[in-house]
Each structure stands twice: as structure tokens, then as C-alpha cells.
Symmetry: C2
């Protein structure tokens, strides 16, 4: 039986999603827990987004196959009983044959949080990057529009992604103020490595007045990685949700 | 010169405010940092609220005296350079002679956050207690009104407070829903040990339907500690602000 699992995690103490032999990763602790529940049989899971070290999730999705057929609420409880407190299984359901968390995904939603207070708030420090304001939000909004649409994001791509094309369709890139935080919401059909953090790196430069919106737009069009600002810190990034086709009946 | 310092901290990795010889406390790390800035001379600070282990602050206030006269922004920067990331100095100003963070305070504002989602959110776990809903918010609001006014809070007092009277004036006790969180705001002229957490313990019992509002009101009036529900967890509590007389000119 194939299962689809929705997960939340605090990425602070994980070396990212992807299993590594010597590091604590989200995939690693999940596979370990599922293996214990399967009487020691190896279980391999696929994650929709291979989040980097320090990146969080409110709605990561993973798929895996188990021989034993479980009642979903029972498996969910058993899993949370074995998992550490910084990763939680939120929802579990049987999936259609062939379902794969990454390959079946139609799109993802990421959120980036900037703490713009003069001094970093210790209660936000794990989940927000500290960029003391003031930031020019309207310049940031103008820069954000450059990302929306079907674009080649080669300028924003970190090396090591190993993907065939750097063209992606971004359907939403919005900046809003909330208390002493600036929040950026990004949705796309897919993301390159560090793409959201590179977007936010560019938006912050626009907000500080360090780069003109036209300059950023030019670097994007020129697919020029060296001209693009450095990616923002991992701690501000959260994978909010993954979108799949509606089940057909 | 007497200084008044506003502080924020993540209480998770502190054994509370008050200095202890062998434990990491907020007062301890602050005094250490100030002592370094004073060339080794001992500095004693007073905190407005002696928060317990695991309790957070967005606006704790401390007072201390230094022989050297500093420019406040310079002292603030030097202090943050020495402090660990989970405690931050937010604001510093010279205070009038005789100012004492605790004795001069007119009142305090605490906030308590409950995570009411079915599964605890790992991104809230440091700053919210997990109480899976549904909670009857209108019953909680009705119970909250019992606290407002000048009351004897002996039923809600933990031992070891060493105070002369358990009468306090509560000016605000409000419960509101925000996403999958229930937030309780409490303001009073002063608080007994674990008073807010005991209030929230009572409110949760009302919200669950485990205690009738009249039963709670009766236990409060009877000053009966044994009849009062257990205090809610420390991690949900934050000292938001401390109120002082307006400076006279």
C-alpha cells in the first residue's frame, strides 16, 4: 500500500531533508521510525521538496510503501510516538498506485520571513532571518513582479541541482508586512536549488535601495548568476504546502 | 548612573530569570556581560518579573547601576555583542535616581499561547503549550471574567512566593483565536507565582467542559488551592511588557 504523509518540522536541528549516513536529516529520522514500525524491513520515502539544512516545513509531503496495511490514524499515532518533537506527522492517507510525492506534485508554496526589527527578536530567531529595516516594501513588490510568469531562473540557481531546465512558472510572489516582520509568499510549479532564498536575496537588495528593480530584472534576463545577490539565510524559509492533482472519481 | 533595560528572551534554555550558582539563568548571563563591560566589577541587576524556567519575554525590564557613564546606544551594542543569541537587549535608557525595575513597576502584561491543533506544530512547540481542541472559547471567556477586578488570588498561588498578600488587581483577561492558536492576554498590577499559568489551567478546564465556570468561581472565592486546576506549562507564557509611571517633566 502506498501512503501519502503530510509533515511539519523545525529544520533548525536537521541537516536538511535528504538522508545522509552521518547527519541527522528529516528523511533519515522518518525512515528509521517507519522501519521500526515495519519490524525492521527497510522503508524508502520520497519527499516532495528536498529542503536544505535549516529550512522548515508546515506542509511537506512524503510518499512510501508498506507491506502491512495500516489504519491511517493508527499509523499516524504510532509514527508520532517514535518521531522526535521537532518533526510531526500531521496527516496520512492511502494514495493511488503510482503516487510519488515529488513526481506527482503540481506545485509548491514557500514562505520566507524577515525580522526587520532593529535588534533580532530571540523568539523569531529560529524561523526568520534578521534584516534590520527600514525596507522599501513598494520597491520589493515591484521587484517581485519580475519573477511572476514562465521564466528562466538560471541566474537564481545554486550549483548542484542537476536539473535539465531552469525554466519554472511562478504563479505568486508577494511581500507583506506583519508586525515587525516582512513575509514573502512564493508559489510555483517547481523550484531550483536555493531559488526562493535567491529571490529573497534580490528582494532585500531592492528593499534596501542597493539594487534598482531594472538592474535585477536585467540580471534575471541575462541568466547571470554572478550578478545576482547572495541567497537569504535558510532559517527564514518554510515549505508551506505542496499541490497535487485533485483525485478523480 | 542607573539604567533601565528592556529585554527579550527565549526561555527554553534558561532555568528562569533568577541567578543561581550552577544553572544558566537570564539574570546570570546579563550580570556576567555587564561585569565584563565594567572591567570585572560586580554588577547586580533587578528584573521586573522573576520569570520561571521556560517562560519567555518580549519586554522584560531590568535596572542596574554602573559607575561609568555610557552612551545608551553604545552600551546596547556592546551588551548584545556579549550576550547569547537567545537573549537580546532591545532598549536602554538612563533612569531617574531611585528607579527599580520591580519596585517601580505599576503593572505587567503576560501572554499565554495554546496550540490547539490536533498534532502539535513543531514550529510553535517552544512558545506554545499543546492542548488539542476543540475548546469552548465562549466558556473560557466567561471564566476569564471571574479574574477581572480586585481579587484575592490565593487559590492560584504556588508555594514559595513569600508575598504578604495574595490580593491583586487584574485589569484584563481576554481569550482570542488566531490560526490554530488560542491566545490569552492578562494584565494586572502584579502577579503571584504561577498565577497566569494557573489562570490558564482553569480556563482550559472550562474550555474542555471539565469544570463549570461557577465551580471555578467558587474555588477562587474559597481561596482553595487544592480545588484549583494544575498550572499550564511554562513554555506557553511570555512576559510582554511592564508598565511604569510616565516620567514627570
Amino acid at each position: 500500500m502506498i501512503y501519502r504523509l503530510t509533515l511539519a518540522y523545525d529544520g533548525t536541528e536537521f541537516e536538511g531533508w535528504q538522508r545522509q549516513s552521518r547527519a541527522r536529516t528529516v528523511q533519515g529520522v522518518l525512515e528509521q521510525a517507519l522501519q521500526r514500525l515495519s519490524g525492521g524491513a527497510e522503508v524508502r520515502i520520497a519527499g516532495a521538496g528536498r529542503t536544505d539544512a535549516g529550512v522548515h516545513a508546515l506542509g511537506q509531503v512524503a510518499s512510501f510503501e508498506l507491506e502491512r496495511v495500516w489504519e491511517p490514524p493508527q499509523l499516524l499515532r504510532a509514527l508520532n510516538g517514535l518521531l522526535p518533537e521537532d518533526v510531526r506527522a500531521l496527516e496520512l492517507r492511502p494514495a493511488a498506485p503510482g503516487f510519488h510525492a515529488r513526481r506527482s506534485a503540481l506545485g509548491k508554496h514557500y514562505r520566507y520571513t524577515l525580522d526587520t526589527a532593529p535588534v533580532q527578536c530571540p523568539l523569531r530567531r529560529r524561523y526568520a532571518a534578521h534584516v534590520p529595516g527600514p525596507l522599501d516594501v513598494s520597491a520589493m513588490r515591484a521587484a517581485a513582479t519580475a519573477f511572476v510568469g514562465r521564466r528562466d531562473f538560471a541566474a537564481l540557481q545554486s550549483s548542484g541541482g542537476g536539473v535539465k531546465t531552469s525554466v519554472r512558472s511562478v504563479t505568486r510572489c508577494e511581500a507583506r508586512l506583519e508586525d515587525a516582520a516582512l513575509i514573502v509568499e512564493v508559489e510555483a510549479d517547481g523550484f531550483l536549488r536555493k531559488m526562493v532564498r535567491s529571490m529573497v536575496g534580490g528582494l532585500v537588495e531592492a528593499g534596501r535601495g542597493a539594487r534598482a528593480v531594472e538592474e535585477l530584472r536585467g540580471a534575471l534576463l541575462a541568466r547571470d548568476r554572478r550578478a545576482w545577490p547572495a541567497p537569504a539565510e535558510a532559517r527564514g524559509l518554510t515549505l508551506v504546502a505542496v499541490r497535487y492533482p485533485a483525485p478523480t472519481g
